[in-house]
């Protein structure tokens, strides 16, 4: 599975899904006009990667804003990760939020409630 790198735009986050290294990253803001089109290929790639199996996987999510369709898309990305963790794969989701950004921190806490097998870490970033 190849690495997926998409530069950030004003409405979509930087994507760096380095599947061989087991490191995935979303950073920026996410409110694309069509979230399904943006996240659909990422979800498929993630599923394919998980089917291949492999070592530990870390998913860094560092979004400063995401709309409700992106939230749904994130949930869709998290579900197979949780399933993989349930099957024994080491999966860590690191929810990065700026210091004092309660909205994003709360959203992370909401997401954390969906995970019971994968590790979900709340990581406060001091530098915005």
């Amino acid at each position: 599975m190849d690495r997926i790198q998409i530069p950030a735009t004003s409405r979509s986050p930087l994507v760096d899904f380095d599947f061989p290294a087991g490191r995935l990253l979303l950073r920026g803001e996410s409110y694309p006009e069509d979230a399904a089109t943006f996240y659909g290929p990422l979800l498929q790639a993630l599923r394919a990667c998980l089917e291949e199996g492999g070592g530990p996987l870390t998913f860094d999510v560092a979004l400063s804003y995401f709309n409700s369709s992106s939230a749904k898309a994130l949930m869709n990305l998290f579900l197979p990760l949780e399933d993989a963790a349930e099957e024994g794969r080491e999966v860590t989701i690191r929810w990065l939020y700026a210091e004092g950004d309660d909205t994003i921190a709360e959203a992370g806490e909401d997401f954390a409630a969906d995970f019971s097998h994968a590790r979900f870490e709340m990581v406060q970033e001091t530098a915005a």
Partner: protein, 562 residues
């Protein structure tokens, strides 16, 4: 000089530089060879009028330049050369005449001296014969002192005197010897004259040869260094006129004269300028056309959206919907793009005030489509099914939206086609008779401001609709007692998700609550307006990210709305 016009078959006009008719406007330029080129009075825009430059080329016979130069210069040169040579010949001729005269005198003197002895009148024969041997000799006569002819040789000349040289010498045999006499010698000057005439003919021939050589070299030089470069220049002008941006080659064997080289260089410079200007104009024109098309397309889209907004607004309840409830009501409905995915409903049924706020996925037109599905579903739930419990209404809404978007038909594993859309929704049922407010939410919270403190009642985390994940929490209602002066807010996340501020982060629901608390003493309309202003201030230059909707009601107040 061939005189072939540059533009073949075109009528010749003017002929050459010599042509001079009655003066008209522009003749001053025409005289300089600029006929056909529009003057500034015709407007600078006409400079590139098709045919303008070709007209100039057609009207001028460039060979006329050589012709004119030849006709003007050759008579002068010929006259100067001829005059000089004639003067030289004349001086020569005079010298020859003088030398011949001196020779004649010397001959006469020598002969006279040879004869000067007594009895010369008898012995003159050999000396006189010797004179006759000179090729120029014509006639000689010997006279005695009395003037009687002693002897004569040759034919006595007649006719014009300038064709002969006549000298006389005295014969003086000595003081004692007598008789004295005289010798008159006449030499012919015809040879000299013939010489002079021959020289004149030669000079004339040489002058003609000189003029011919001059004409030829003039033709060659002008042709090579003036006419050919000018033709190239004119040809290039013709091409440039048709916006074919060619420049003129300044090197090669047909190197133009300095003046024409300067003009050609200036022309090349101008062509470069025109070319880049033309390209820029083309780009600009293309840009303007594109911009116009975009503006038109955008205008159509905006018109269409405005129409859609009227429809969407017609679906929303009017401000008098809860008139009978003695509630102060304020509404903020601000789609991000004219129409949007935010929806609210207020209705009084069976003495209950029902307030619904929904935030459908997406905004703009897709969001607006979903709001219509929600509106239809809600109408069925409230009027056909008659549901009055908020959690029941939410559950029914969930079912109806899934059914309408056919989200149950798929296998739920999220193939990229098919709908995975839904909504966040919050419902308040205000039961004035029992003094209770029942709230249920799915992804949408209730904010209550009472006694200067805000309380936030979160609904279920997950919204309604979407494909099932199997992890959805059940829907539940919260009941709070109604109290006077209590203000209740239902708002979509677009209200709190305002990016901005010094640290450029989301305002969040805490920030919104702070603003609402700050303005709690205002009438509800004013409080909502103050919130709206504060949100704009927080955003600053950041654009809004989402549709925003807020429905607020305050108990114990008078009926009213915004």
């Amino acid at each position: 000089m061939s005189g072939e016009p540059l533009a073949r078959g075109a009528p010749r006009r003017g002929g050459s530089l010599r042509g001079a008719g009655p003066m008209r406007r522009g003749d001053a330029l025409a005289g300089l060879g600029f006929a056909g080129v529009p003057t500034t009075q015709d407007g600078g825009a006409d400079t590139m009028r098709p045919g303008a430059l070709r007209g100039a080329a057609r009207g001028r016979n460039l060979d006329g330049l050589v012709h004119t130069l030849f006709l003007r210069l050759s008579p002068v040169i010929a006259a100067v050369v001829l005059t000089t040579q004639v003067v030289i010949a004349w001086v020569n001729y005079g010298d020859q005449i003088r030398i011949e005269g001196e020779r004649a005198r010397m001959m006469a003197d020598m002969t006279a001296r040879a004869l000067a002895h007594p009895g010369w009148t008898e012995t003159y024969g050999p000396q006189l014969q010797a004179l006759g041997l000179d090729p120029a000799f014509r006639f000689a006569v010997l006279r005695d002192a009395a003037g009687a002819v002693v002897a004569r040789l040759g034919e006595e000349p007649r006719g014009r005197s300038f064709e002969r040289i006549q000298v006389s010498a005295a014969i003086e045999p000595g003081p004692d010897a007598r008789p004295a006499g005289s010798l008159t010698l006449v030499l012919s000057a015809e040879g000299l004259r013939a010489n002079a005439e021959k020289q004149f003919v030669m000079v004339l021939g040489a002058s003609l040869a000189l003029i011919l050589a001059f004409a030829l070299s003039l033709r060659l030089a002008v042709g090579r260094h003036v006419l050919a470069p000018l033709r190239r220049l004119l040809a290039a002008m013709g091409q440039v006129e048709r916006k074919d941006w060619v420049t003129v080659d300044l090197g090669g064997s047909r190197r133009p004269s300095r003046e024409i080289a300067d003009i050609s260089a200036a022309f090349n410079h101008m062509v470069e300028g025109l070319k880049s200007g033309d390209e820029a104009r083309h780009l600009l024109a293309e840009l303007e056309r594109t911009h116009a098309r975009l503006a038109e397309a955008n205008g159509l889209v905006m018109e269409s959206l405005q129409y859609a907004r009227r429809i969407q607004q017609a679906v929303l309840p009017g401000p008098e919907a809860l008139r009978g409830q003695a509630l102060e009501v304020a509404v903020l409905w601000e789609p991000l793009h004219v129409v949007g995915g935010d929806y609210f409903w207020m209705e009084e049924i069976d003495g209950l005030a029902i307030v619904v706020v929904a935030d459908c996925t997406g905004h703009g037109v897709p969001g607006a489509f979903l709001t219509l599905i929600v509106a239809t579903a809600l109408d069925r739930i409230l009027h056909d099914q008659g549901l009055r419990r908020p959690e029941a209404i939410l559950a029914a809404l969930d079912t109806l939206v899934r059914a309408r978007l056919r989200q149950e038909a798929g296998d739920g594993t999220g193939a990229s086609d098919g709908s995975d859309d839904g909504l966040d929704c919050g419902i308040c049922i205000i039961d004035r008779a029992n003094g209770a407010l029942h709230f249920a939410g799915a992804g949408l919270a209730l904010t209550v401001l009472a006694g200067g403190e805000t309380t936030r009642i979160k609904g279920r985390r997950h919204g309604l609709g979407y494909r099932r994940t199997g992890r959805e929490d059940s829907l539940a209602a919260t009941t709070i007692p109604l109290a006077d002066g209590q203000t209740v807010f239902l708002m979509t996340d677009g209200v709190s998700d305002q990016m901005g501020g010094a640290s450029r982060r989301l305002l969040g629901h805490r920030g919104v609550a702070e603003i609402l608390k700050r303005h709690r003493d205002l009438p509800l309309d004013g409080q909502v307006a103050a919130l709206e202003a504060a949100l704009a201030a927080h955003r600053g230059s950041e654009p809004r990210r989402d549709d925003m909707t807020l429905v607020a009601f305050r108990t114990g107040g008078k009926a009213g709305s915004r």
